[in-house]
């Protein structure tokens, strides 16, 4: 398989890059100052694209790779891939579900606790020597709060299970009500936000869910409410979020994702009621290795004519 051309469209976990390099003829998009150069030289030999949360295969790229057979994403979210175009052209698409569910759910709770209990602020307080001058102030209790989840898929359910360990009540919004769930359903995100203390975004990014967290939702969550985003940056109207935090209309936010990564709105750096993370939802050695093995396994299955492990298209 060493002659099969695979295009890696963004930097990934070193183990994945090394394995792709060993098994295939690997082209790294960032090695070429102009994409046109890469395409004119190698487009004809590229049969697979490997993407990640931040970069995939849009309509243009798909058109530019006439031999493209499969897009394998090193992520569970595939909002950077033009799925309709792939379907139309018979191009397979795979992602990395399940192996990262626990990891992302852990981080959602970690972000919530860090935010409500001011863990990062407390750490700063101690490191700066301020503790010698006086105690830190009271923080907000997490146990027993009402957690509202937008999107009750694998990750949403894993978050709910963990929050229940803290005696939290769970409610949710989903495109359709889940008949076999015991959690309280709200037919709109605004209603969900009005009835919970902590709103967690855990749905896929699609046209419908773009800016699903808007001014109205943020105001409904309110000055005692908290927003946690472990989905995609574009789920949240970031400009509205920033102004709400600055004006005290929202209690606080824990964010692993941003609209234009790696850029983070500078206005947030001075706020003590936010926790900011550089998109590390699935970023542990164990999970990234499992995700990489899934990408490699899917590619191998495809080129051997076997059933794909985790196909979406």
């Amino acid at each position: 398989m060493g002659s099969i051309g695979v295009l890696l469209v963004g930097r990934v976990f070193p183990y994945l890059e090394q394995e792709l390099d060993k098994r295939y003829k690997l082209f790294r998009l960032w090695d070429y100052p102009q994409k046109a150069q890469l395409l004119s030289q190698h487009a004809a030999s590229i049969r697979a694209v490997v993407g990640h949360a931040g970069a995939g295969a849009d309509a243009d790229l798909i058109d530019e790779l006439p031999k493209l057979e499969i897009v394998s994403s090193f992520s569970v979210g595939v909002d950077m891939i033009d799925l309709e175009k792939c379907k139309a052209k018979g191009i397979r698409v795979t992602n990395t579900p399940d192996v990262l569910t626990d990891e992302v759910a852990d981080l959602a709770i970690g972000l919530t606790l860090a935010l409500l209990r001011r863990i990062c602020e407390c750490d700063r307080y101690v490191r700066s020597g301020k503790w010698k001058k006086g105690d830190y102030k009271l923080t907000t209790k997490f146990s027993g709060k009402t957690v509202g989840i937008v999107g009750l898929g694998r990750i949403g359910q894993a978050i709910a299970k963990r929050a229940e360990g803290f005696n939290c009540s769970i409610c949710y919004y989903s495109r359709t009500e889940k008949r076999d769930s015991n959690y309280k359903y709200y037919p709109s995100v605004v209603e969900l936000a009005s009835n919970c203390d902590i709103l967690v975004v855990a749905c896929p990014l699609t046209e419908e869910t773009h800016h699903i967290i808007n001014r109205e939702v943020i105001n409904a969550l309110g000055p005692k409410g908290f927003l946690i985003n472990i989905g995609r940056g574009k789920h949240v109207d970031e400009a509205e979020l920033v102004s709400a935090l600055q004006e005290g209309r929202l209690g606080g936010a824990g964010l692993d994702v941003f609209e234009d990564e790696p850029a983070v709105p500078e206005e947030l750096f001075g706020l003590e009621n936010v926790v900011l993370l550089p998109h590390v939802g699935s970023a542990t050695l164990e999970t990234r290795t499992d995700m990489a093995d899934l990408v490699l396994g899917n590619l191998e299955a495809h080129f051997l004519g076997k059933p794909l492990l985790t196909p979406l298209v």
Binding site: L113, R117, F166
Partner: protein, 327 residues
């Protein structure tokens, strides 16, 4: 001597909840708050110590036999902490002074903080937040923070399976963690595996969460041997008391890379924290505030107020410390 219309309560702190407590109960009790910069004896000379029957203190104030001797009429001692190692309980028993503490009021908040510290240190949350807020960071974030550790499904050893330890266990079980514990005695109705040796517990676990009371038996219960047994990929969280860990050894082991990291809410000589820790990204430091939330503060005010009312109307106390168990 005539009974005071409003009973006096001596307050020895500082007390986090006092700002909330005083306005709520000042019509029922006369709170006396000595200036901490002057001697207690001096203060008491002005305030008829023989009329003081109740004392309210925090974990920061050492209520020694010496202090108790200054209060010949003392019959009630309330502490706002769950722990009582700052009180001479033997002297209280000898004098017939009733003692009540926080009981389980803080357990949920402390357990939440323990899990918060564990998640933070394994997933590098504070380190990553600090990194993002630092201007001009050179390396792309994914390279710096990709090698965190998974928590779900890991084996967690709880040192001290009391009220707090049980709440920690319940929370971590919802992450699919496998719980074992060490305690003074094996607990009857608990299905988690019991280890009589903390070293054995550390050997089999990926992380230790220390939640026990500090006493003669538990001082430095986490020593070099335990830390080494936990190993390079292991983590330790302490929400008990600083004295439970041999702090000098912990710092050395962290510097030598013998352990994965630590989340610490308590230290041996608060508010002093070993400065070597400030250089590390694999420690999370917290200023002894695991118990202190808006809710627990309110609950504590109600508990203290309730116990003062109970005492002065001869009713039973809540969370009374049974002194006949004291050695």
């Amino acid at each position: 001597m005539a009974e005071e219309a409003v009973p006096k309560v001596l307050v020895l702190g500082p007390l986090m909840c006092f700002a909330t407590l005083e306005p709520l109960y000042s019509h029922k009790f006369h709170f006396l708050s000595p200036n901490p910069n002057h001697s207690l004896q001096h203060f008491l000379r002005l305030h008829h110590p023989s009329s003081i029957r109740a004392l309210l203190c925090s974990a920061n104030y050492s209520v020694s036999a010496q202090v108790l001797r200054l209060l010949p009429s003392l019959r009630l001692l309330l502490t706002t902490s769950a722990g009582t190692e700052h009180i001479d309980l033997r002297e209280c028993r000898r004098r017939g002074i009733q003692v009540a503490a926080a009981g389980g009021i803080f357990s949920q908040d402390v357990a939440d903080a323990a899990v918060a510290l564990l998640l933070d240190v394994t997933r590098n949350i504070s380190a990553a937040d600090r990194y993002l807020r630092t201007p001009n960071h050179a390396n792309p974030p994914s390279e710096v923070f990709t090698f965190a550790s998974k928590l779900s499904g890991k084996r967690i050893g709880i040192v001290g399976l009391g009220s707090i330890g049980m709440e920690v266990a319940k929370r971590l079980e919802s992450f699919g963690c496998i719980i074992s514990y060490n305690s003074k005695h094996k607990k009857a109705n608990v299905s988690y595996p019991f280890y009589s040796s903390v070293v054995d517990l550390a050997t089999t676990c990926d992380a230790l969460v220390v939640c026990c009371a500090l006493n003669e038996q538990t001082k430095h219960i986490i020593n070099r041997e335990v830390i080494s047994a936990l190993g390079k990929g292991g983590f330790i969280v302490n929400v008990g008391r600083g004295g439970l860990i041999d702090e000098k050894e912990l710092v050395k082991c962290l510097m030598e890379g013998k352990i994965g990291g630590a989340g610490l809410d308590v230290f041996e000589n608060e508010p002093h924290v070993p400065k070597e820790l400030f250089q590390m990204n694999n420690v999370v430091l917290s200023p002894h505030c695991a118990a202190l939330t808006d809710k627990s503060n309110m609950d504590m005010c109600e508990l203290v107020g309730g116990n003062l009312e109970a005492f002065f109307s001869n009713r039973p106390l809540i969370n009374q410390v049974m002194l006949d168990m004291v050695e």
